[in-house]
């Protein structure tokens, strides 16, 4: 049977606003399958986003949805989760939203290890505003504000998340469509803050400027650069040059924030 995505989408909201070939739709579908696989209940789930192309996802999903301000999704989500720990909380957004203007909220959500799943769609650019460089734009790449080549070093979102204390960190790509579901589902099942970075394509504002002839070229590049962690373990540094690791990159058990706060309540009531 064809997959019933419509069950999770608000009636009449498609087609979505994303450009032809944009991977956001592929990621949204992977997330929907993960929600289904994890049995998330619509009424008991909140999906929270910031501002940008990726953050428009909340408008389509038939859940409790909160389309917040630029960069602030993780902070709004922390309020929701803290107030109602029994709810499943999903955060979605792009690389600029999450790691530039929202960088502080991102690292502190990781540090608290609050039980949320943060899917960050990394297309290496600010798409909605027309292609300005983000902290995830490769050094040397062209953007509307780096026409002479991007002088900035690049964030490795997964390393940033691990360094900040996220207890589940994974990476996939928009090309590896089936894997998105598995990574997001594992992130949802994980107790604590799960960060799932999905490398994505922006054919409109990144691809054209950076000599990708088509959407297909961008998809093929995602295929070429991705190396599963198990395979990478057998490769030399030279072989790994220019590659990115995919799969579950980090997983650990650490006390979860709302459970820790439940203990604060117990201690306060006993005092």
């Amino acid at each position: 049977m064809a997959y019933d995505y419509e069950k999770h989408i608000r009636p009449g909201k498609l087609p979505h606003i994303w450009c032809p070939g944009c991977g956001h739709g592929i990621i949204m579908k992977g997330m929907i399958r993960a929600f289904e696989a994890c049995g998330l209940e619509k009424n008991n789930t909140a999906i929270i986003s910031g501002i940008g192309c990726a953050s428009r996802m909340t408008g389509y999903m038939d859940y409790n949805t909160l389309h917040t301000a630029h960069g602030r999704a993780a902070a709004f989500a922390t309020g929701v989760k803290m107030a109602k720990p029994e709810m499943d909380v999903i955060v979605v957004g792009g690389d600029g939203d999450g790691t530039a203007i929202g960088g502080n909220h991102f690292i502190h959500a990781c540090r608290r290890n609050i039980d949320m799943t943060y899917v960050i769609m990394n297309n290496s650019i600010y798409g909605m505003t027309g292609g300005q460089f983000s902290p995830c734009t490769p050094t040397g790449a062209l953007a509307s504000t780096t026409v002479y080549g991007n002088p900035d070093p690049t964030f490795d979102i997964a390393k940033l998340a691990i360094g900040a204390g996220a207890t589940f960190v994974a990476r996939g790509t928009a090309f590896h469509a089936a894997q998105i579901e598995k990574l997001v589902a594992e992130g949802i099942r994980h107790k604590g803050l799960a960060v799932i970075e999905i490398l994505d394509d922006c054919p409109t504002t990144y691809g054209r400027r950076n000599k990708f002839r088509s959407v297909i070229d961008m998809m093929k590049r995602l295929k070429e650069i991705a190396v599963p962690v198990a395979a990478a373990a057998k490769m030399t540094p030279e072989q790994l040059e220019g590659k990115v690791l995919t799969g579950v990159l980090h997983k650990e058990e650490r006390p979860e924030y709302t459970e820790q706060y439940a203990q604060v309540i117990s201690r306060a009531k006993g005092a």
Binding site: M1, A2, Y3, Y5, E6, I9, L14, P15, H16, W18, C19, P20, G21, C22, G23, H24, G25, I26, K29, A177, A178, P203, S214, V215, I216, M219
Partner: protein, 65 residues
């Protein structure tokens, strides 16, 4: 006799013509018709679901026969 393993439904209203489905179909079932995808070689479909899985636009449903 048709060899198709599935019937492919195109939701034209949602299709933006990115051609990802055309490119990644292993048996070349699909083709572009101006800015919308069409089923060109239905018999060749092996029901691998790649087009449905990869379509960013919720524009393809693959109904296995």
């Amino acid at each position: 006799m048709s060899g198709a393993k599935a019937e492919i439904e195109i939701i034209e209203r949602n299709c933006k013509g990115c051609s990802i489905c055309v490119e990644f179909c292993p048996t070349k079932v699909l083709a572009m018709d101006a800015f919308v995808v069409k089923v060109e070689n239905a018999d060749a479909c092996i029901a691998c679901m790649q087009c449905e899985l990869r379509c960013p636009d919720f524009a393809i449903k693959v109904h296995k026969l």
